[in-house]
């Protein structure tokens, strides 16, 4: 097996191995460290020496040994007797009963996700811990992906585990309404991981892990594991469809030197037809059967754009209807901004500008560069070049993204 194949295998096994240990010992933080060490050992040994016959069993045994070593040395230091029962080989725990093994594995990975996305943990820490404990990435890979030093990321992960411990969270699946609430957090974390990968602004790094791919892999995993009857299943599918349809445009959203290309100017022939097909089918099928939700709506909007041969030929009426529903469902000034763009396409730029007027005095968006960028765009459509120029300039000053600033400066320049 090549090291890439080994890495893929390890990442699939990681949550399962971790779950076995946590189930046995209950100490999530210590178990997580031990699994990370076992994964690193395997990544070093397996490509050279071959993959063991039972790779999961190997990992459980090695991680379990690390854990007992650690406890032994701790208890020796404290002159305390260890009460560990280590008679049963760890790998036997992996296959207790073939019939319920799969069910258990299903619950385990989801339970781990719920634990990593614990509400007591800050969003950046939820992201980091999820990628390590469920995604099986190393701290170094995660640090590179987020462009922070490894020591910073290591600390973030360890703080997250400490918070979970302090919160008294156990390795158990939340039930009832709490489960639905917590699943919403999990989906949001997956969405943030995807976005982080999609909108990353710093220079190219060949060793950078593809966060978008990782987010899609984990979302597929959640979808596979969650019963289709779960009330949140529709939104999981919606999120996956949104990611697929967004990722389909990736090759065309920036020029080779990193300048942003807006939707209207993207080369649609280079959009990924397979991803579009999968995403579109998924969202259509989901919306026909599941209760409607914000991820499905956003995916549906992305699907309308994906099937249009050009901006002019886009079914803007449908886009507008979808944004209106979304704005009612999750009132939010960012959604209103997008609704204003769609309104301008359907009813003319002045109607769009009127809608933007309703955001005046909304503190959540006051001074935000997107408000000025959209206003600039609508003023340009309305033929007011001087005012459009001014708003693009203001937007360029207020963004903290370098490609976005370049793009907005160009738009302003064109109107001079």
């Amino acid at each position: 097996m090549t090291s890439v194949e080994v890495e893929d295998l390890l990442r699939r096994l990681a949550p399962r191995v971790l779950a076995v240990l946590v189930r046995r010992h209950g100490q999530f933080d210590a178990c997580e460290d031990a699994v990370q060490e076992a994964l690193l050992a395997a990544a070093m040994q397996w490509p050279a020496e071959g993959v063991p016959a039972e790779p999961a069993g190997w990992l459980v045994t090695v991680a379990g040994r690390r854990l007992t070593d650690q406890w032994r040395s701790e208890s020796a230091r404290r002159r305390r007797e260890t009460t560990l029962a280590v008679q049963q080989p760890y790998h036997e725990l992996l296959t207790p009963d073939p019939a319920d093994e799969l069910d258990r594995h299903v619950d385990d990975t989801l339970t781990l996700l719920f634990l990593c996305c614990h509400p007591e943990v800050s969003a950046p820490s939820q992201l980091a811990l999820t990628l390590r404990a469920v995604g099986g990435l190393t701290t170094e890979q995660i640090a590179r992906a987020f462009l922070v030093p490894e020591s910073t990321m290591a600390q973030r992960i360890s703080r997250a585990k400490q918070k979970i411990k302090e919160a008294g969270a156990t390795f158990a699946m939340p039930a009832g309404p709490e489960r639905t609430e917590r699943l919403a957090v999990v989906l949001h974390v997956l969405y943030l991981i995807f976005n982080e990968g999609y909108t990353a602004t710093s220079g190219p790094d060949l060793q950078r892990v593809e966060l978008t791919a990782e987010a899609m892999r984990l979302t597929r995993e959640v979808r596979r594991l969650l019963p289709a009857t779960d009330p949140a299943a529709g939104e999981v599918a919606g999120l996956l469809a949104l990611m697929l349809l967004t990722d389909a445009r990736r090759a065309t959203r920036a020029t080779p030197d990193g300048a942003l290309v807006p939707l209207a100017e993207q080369d649609r022939g280079r959009w990924d037809a397979e991803l579009i097909k999968e995403g579109t089918e998924l969202v259509e099928q989901t919306m026909a059967t599941a209760p409607l939700g914000p991820y499905q709506l956003q995916a549906a909007i992305a699907a309308v754009h994906a099937e249009a041969p050009s901006t002019e030929a886009t079914d803007w009426r449908q886009v507008l209807v979808l944004y209106e529903i979304l704005d009612r469902m999750t009132p939010n000034p960012m959604v209103t901004l997008n609704r204003a763009i769609a309104t301008a396409e359907v009813h003319g730029p002045r109607a769009g500008l009127d809608l933007l007027g309703t955001l005046a005095g909304d503190k959540r968006i006051a001074g935000h560069h997107r408000l000025d960028a959209v206003r600039g765009h609508l003023l340009e459509l309305a033929g007011d070049r001087a005012a459009a120029h001014e708003h693009y300039r203001r937007a360029a000053r207020h963004t903290v993204s370098l490609p976005e600033r370049r793009y907005l400066e160009q738009r302003a320049e064109r109107l001079k």
Binding site: P149, T152, A154, Q155, I157, A160, T201, S202, V400
Partner: protein, 122 residues
């Protein structure tokens, strides 16, 4: 999001501090570093030497001119900075408030988002 927390200092204010105040600022910085390191938000910090040591290389349109002293003559100058990576602008402000300088009139922390970074240990 990465932010530079820029410590704006006024030498007159610094000189007027008592020893006890100076010590509390020193301890406060050690504590701030410990807290942000523990939370996984700390990337780095640097304290800068007094502007008496500053040289300015000024563009002139042809050969750059080198002069003694800072670019702008001002009462306040940048004394140092923290580079942090945190969840939001609100969190960056919260962090800035924990920097001990903010307990003294005439000292300030400027919170500025980072747009591009390269070359740090990352």
């Amino acid at each position: 999001m990465k932010f530079l927390l820029i410590m704006q200092v006024n030498p007159a204010v610094l000189e007027a501090l008592t020893d006890a105040e100076r010590e509390s600022i020193g301890n406060g910085h050690a504590e701030f570093m410990r807290l942000t390191q523990e939370s996984g938000e700390f990337i780095g910090t640097q304290a800068l030497a007094d502007p008496a040591n500053t040289l300015t290389v000024r563009g002139t349109g042809s050969v750059p001119a080198v002069t003694d002293g800072p670019y702008l003559e001002a009462k306040e100058y940048m004394g140092g900075f923290y580079l942090v990576d945190c969840e939001s602008r609100e969190r960056a402000v919260e962090l800035a408030k924990q920097i001990p300088d903010t307990a003294f009139g005439g000292l300030a922390i400027e919170v500025r988002p980072v747009m591009f970074s390269a070359g740090f240990e990352m």
